[in-house]
Symmetry: C2
Subunit: 439 residues, 2 copies
């Protein structure tokens, strides 16, 4: 039985999860990959914590990981762009395979880092949707398919908050506080609630599913901060649930790539995914619509994906032959085409086409609906459904909530400007996009 030497950078919850699996499932892993795993080195900035390092040498220098000839694979589990980017590049240059769970560095520097694969590859199943083997599903399980669309709940914190707002009728702030108390949201939850984390993950999905560059700046992004319990309740009346979604969709004019709240029909499987769960739905030409769900975060779940990469590398030859060639990278790396599909352009959000949910506070007087409908109609937008009802705590105004038929986002924005200029409309119009029917 061959031995695979592991070097781990970072000692957070994911690293601890990895160490735990390597300890507890040693026999299982030996059987499944015909290899013995040896944690050779662990490197962390902080002092050595009270964690079983399985006999590994502990130090503070990242270089120790790839300078050690006993290390076959470097696990980059420190997160963030820097110094992770340098570590990955250096480890590859030293002929080490790399496993990373780092969505941030891939979303920004993925092209550059994957371009450095020569002797050994980078794998990164853990970077998207935690335990769910979604990257493997897209690159291998659905390898024979042209993918039309990918839609996912890929941030568990945001999904937890939306679920709590819906089920407990609490505000965004209250739900966020609850999530923090339960450890589902960080002390600084900015990246989870403003959509940045989801955009990182969607960038990776975009690169793999559509042969695109890892280009975070191409992703349109909105968070969940401005959603209200009222919006969630009105959406339910129309038969929808509101989820924070990362969505890629190939349309005639290009690729939609967007992260924002979305109204999804209640009967859709994706709408049923609650709490900190993640789910990714893939629409493709032969396999139709497939859905993959599971825990999207947490040390053990993320570690499960890191170990999946480790086993894949081992089955692909890692550890057998220390001077393995580029063929090894080809057979055990993920499929990531280095020649990008340049024929596909990401659409500006203005050019996205779909249904819209609009909620506004309007004066309670005759003819207001007609005026609102006219303002929409001026921009080619027609109304599908309407709810009008007394607004809580107001006597002069009513809530007017409507779903539009499909419209161009640019036209909706123009209509919103017109609505905001009407004296019958108070404050901001709340606008949430509706899931396209055909994804």
């Amino acid at each position: 039985m061959k031995t695979v030497g592991i070097g781990i950078a970072g000692l957070g919850t994911v690293s601890q999860g990895v160490l735990n699996i390597l300890k507890v499932q040693q026999a299982l892993l030996a059987k499944r990959s015909n290899a013995r795993y040896e944690v050779v080195r662990v490197v962390s900035r902080t002092a050595k914590p009270d964690v079983d390092l399985l006999g590994a040498e502990f130090s503070h220098r990242l270089e120790d990981l790839y300078e050690d000839p006993q290390v076959d694979v470097v696990m980059e589990l420190i997160g963030g762009e820097s110094p992770a980017d340098q570590l990955i590049a250096d480890a590859l240059a030293a002929g080490k395979a790399v496993i990373t769970a780092n969505k941030a560095v891939l979303a920004v520097k993925g092209d550059q880092l994957l371009g450095k694969q020569s002797v050994q590859p980078i794998r990164f199943e853990a970077a998207v949707a935690g335990a769910i083997p979604i990257l493997q599903a897209i690159t291998a399980g659905l390898a024979g398919n042209a993918i039309h669309a990918v839609s996912g709940i890929i941030n568990g914190t945001a999904n937890y908050i939306l679920t709590a707002m819906e089920q407990d009728g609490v505000s965004f702030g209250e739900a966020l506080a609850a999530a923090q108390k339960l450890g589902y949201a960080e002390a600084d939850p900015t990246f989870d609630v403003d959509g940045t984390d989801a955009a990182h993950k969607l960038t990776i999905l975009m690169a793999l599913a559509f042969d695109m560059s890892f280009a975070l700046d191409q992703i349109y992004k909105e968070g969940i901060e401005s959603l209200t319990a009222e919006d969630i309740a009105f959406a339910a009346e129309f038969g929808f649930r509101i989820k924070h979604i990362g969505m890629l969709r190939r349309v005639a004019t290009g690729l939609e790539a967007r992260v924002h709240p979305l109204l999804i029909p209640q009967s859709d499987l994706l709408a049923q995914v609650d709490g900190v769960q993640n789910a990714v739905q893939v629409s493709s030409d032969s396999a139709g619509t497939t859905l993959f769900s599971g825990p999207g975060a947490g040390g053990a779940a993320t570690a499960s994906a890191v170990i999946a990469d480790l086993v894949a590398l081992t089955r692909g030859g890692l550890g057998t032959n220390p001077t393995s060639t580029a063929h090894n990278a080809a057979s055990s790396g993920m499929y990531v085409p280095l020649e990008r599909a340049n024929d596909l352009a990401v659409l500006p959000i203005d050019e996205v086409y779909g249904g819209y949910y609009l909620r506004m506070l309007v004066a309670d007087q005759p003819g207001v609906i007609a005026k609102v409908a006219q303002a929409l109609s001026n921009h080619g937008i027609s109304i599908d459904k309407v709810i009008q009802r007394p607004a809580a705590g107001r006597t002069e105004q009513v809530d007017l909530v409507l779903l539009t038929h499909d419209a161009l986002e640019r036209d909706v924005n123009l209509a919103l400007t017109e609505l905001h200029g009407m004296f019958e409309v108070s404050g901001e119009v709340s606008r949430i996009r509706v899931a396209p029917v055909n994804t």
Copy 2:
């Protein structure tokens, strides 16, 4: 770019789906696997149909497939146990890789056939759950996990029938007729409705998830023929949906391996899977509960899984080196341990423990519930919930429907015998198992 030669046995819908993907997605596949696929031979018993064989030579002799040195991989898409078993064995002996979609032959002869892997492996993603890459998820994506349980809706025909019975309130017979009309059920639907097809697939899941032998005879099996629309309606009142499930569950005393109708809480994702869709839920120690859903049948969907195997074989080295060694099988085959885990025994159904739904027609007179409760109590079974109501079209009798707390199946059978002996109970007691809470 290397060339991979393909030989296809059979020309049914799956083969036609494979030919179509190879034709339509030629460029995509070349990019994803760095290979050109050439269909060298197609063999079928029937006359050459009006199908584009992509230049392949057509004949009626199965031997032509593996006798041709141009063929690298034989796709066994004829189905059934024989002559598929011989073809797979002969192709392996001739040094060909094999891809099969044949659950029946694997469920019965899987051990024997996989034991013949030497130069090249067998892959069989298409044998379970159509387009869903569930075998890859279990063997690779969750490779670092000890799996506790696998529960799946793995027969689309049965699920279509149950969904139709529920949504349209029709009988089993009517729903079956509708399924046949729509092409979702075969002229002879026996294997779909009596659970045989699901048992075939569960045998494969058992082998991969629990390192067990491919032993169809170990699977307990019930079909959906005796389910009624009334059962579905009563289950809904209790908050459940009835699904036909294949279930594997590791408990303290062994492994449960069973195929039968099951009451699943309405809020479970698995309960939301409707129509011809399949879904498989996996519970494991690190990854928690993951769920994989999608189309479980159909030519294109099944072909998608066949092509996934083809790409995996190619990435693993197929076609590069015609005299590839056993290492090749190790790196590009599925993980199927040939040394079985003999410490795990499948439990007889009598020893399964869980909740039960019982429906009976009882005399409409005082004290009957007490007598029924006593009969159950005599065997250590206690009642969780009860519904009693006038039975349709009867004046002397009422429907008595109850959910039990967890009980041993053997005790439930003894209680049923006692109930059947009571003059207050008319006809057969309908008995359906309830999903364990912890899977």
